[in-house]
Amino acid sequence: MTNLPPDIWQPVWLTIELAAITTVILLIVGTPIAWWLARSKVWWKEGVAAVVALPLVLPPTVLGFYLLVLMGPDGPGGALASLWGGRTLAFTFGGLVFGSVIYSMPFVVQPIRNAFDAIGDRPLEVAATLRASPLKAFWTVAVPLARPGFLAGAVLGFAHTVGEFGIVLMIGGNIPGSTKVLSVAIYDYVETSQWREANILAGGMAAFAFVVILTMMMLEKRTARIRG
């Protein structure tokens, strides 16, 4: 491994950090959304579900464009940034986290919602007859039963944040150590004909994606066995 640029691993750590933070936020924010989507009876809930699922279909450039405008000094992001003296949320690690949370949301919410859906009313009704409060029933009945959904959501959310490219390219500004993530680093290496560096990072990404898909398949098999 001679002649490698000394900073080649920096995007890797930055990406892992970004994906980990995004996943944790999504588990916290996504769980109540998934719960509400699974349990609520209001007629407009599928509308909300569709909004959450939008990033599945929208090109990252669409999200990137709106984020660039929203985060700028004339948008709400600029107002937010002015709280700590900034002008814009673009070009910051926080901005990337915000963009990633929106982008990866369906990949976390969907599996958790499906898992909640699969539980059905019965176990919760039983818990209620045993005088469990709704909150207690949620923590002691629903969450353990939905564990495979949480696992799948966390793995997918993490993986998709790692693989995200279009949004970070559009709002990131390619700043080493702050917004230059793995996918952008690969793009840069390819653009400047540094094949070896591109190969190392891209090969690692491919291996990582393989492991993720394998894990997902094994998780699904296990879930199927549990449900019988």
Binding site: G72, R87, A90, P111, N174, D188, T192, S193
Partner: protein, 257 residues
């Protein structure tokens, strides 16, 4: 879970099919890879070229470095309008371009630009503490980015400004960062802002950076294309040169190098 995977596979399949279907079938058309800074002028030149010859140009825009890589990987471009002189020469030397077809079609000019009036007054603007972000384009892949870095180095401001720099993948993105207000100022091509009346700008003096000579080259894939060759001739002609100058480039006497 399964639905997501299936959905994504279906989308991928659809995208792939769309890609296959969009292969153009015009006989007298040429595929031209154009450095992003030359987007506006080349559109006008293409229209004039079509009016005169009937040949259609299929234009792709991007960073010169990106195009260079794509061309060495068998991209179907027939003509390359680069933002520098090194890459066309390299392509000709390496056999991807046709020898003796390289010529300078424009000399680019760098400006420091803000979308607001009164912000950019001169080089002293770069020293202002109120400026949080300065956008440039990738200096290793795009000559305007390299010229911006040279300028800051010549002014002995580079180390000081480095933490403020944000990099676009190409000059269009560097411009976009300023246009959306995410960066207060940025180094862009004069051609991008020549018609901008509301903003403020500083023409970077030519002695602060190496001239951005933008060279064109006929690629191997266009060697037998009448449209591609006619376009390069047209690009050297007076009609094109008038358009190029109108967009804020200098034009040199065309010569094969």
């Amino acid at each position: 879970m399964k639905t997501i995977v299936t959905l994504r596979l279906a989308l991928f399949g659809a995208a792939f099919a769309a890609g296959l279907a969009s292969t153009p079938a015009f006989a007298d058309s040429a595929k031209v890879a154009v450095a992003a800074n030359f987007t506006e002028p080349v559109k006008e030149i293409a229209a004039a070229f079509k009016a005169k010859t009937g040949h259609e140009l299929v234009l792709s825009f991007g960073a010169s470095g990106q195009f260079y890589t794509q061309i060495t990987q068998d991209a179907p471009f027939e003509v390359f309008l680069s933002a520098d002189s090194a890459r066309p020469k390299k392509l000709a030397d390496e056999g991807f371009g046709v020898k003796d077809t390289v010529f300078t079609y424009a000399v680019g000019k760098l400006v420091l630009w803000s979308k607001s009036p009164g912000v950019v007054k001169g080089e002293e603007t770069l020293k202002q503490a109120t400026i949080a972000k300065v956008s440039i384009c990738n200096p290793t892949a795009a000559p305007y980015g390299a010229a911006a870095v040279e300028t800051m180095q010549a002014l002995k401001l580079y180390d000081e400004l480095k933490p403020k720099l944000v990099e676009g993948a190409n000059i269009t993105q560097a411009y976009q960062f300023v246009q959306t207000g995410n960066a207060e100022i940025g180094f862009v091509a004069l051609s991008q802002v020549i018609n901008d009346k509301d903003g403020s700008r500083w023409m970077v003096p030519q002695n602060l950076y190496k001239p951005i000579t933008q060279d064109a080259v006929l690629l191997k894939k266009g060697e037998n294309s009448a449209a591609a060759k006619a376009f390069l001739d047209f690009l050297k002609g007076p009609e094109s040169r008038a358009i190029i100058e109108k967009f804020g480039y200098e034009v040199t006497t065309p010569k094969a190098s």
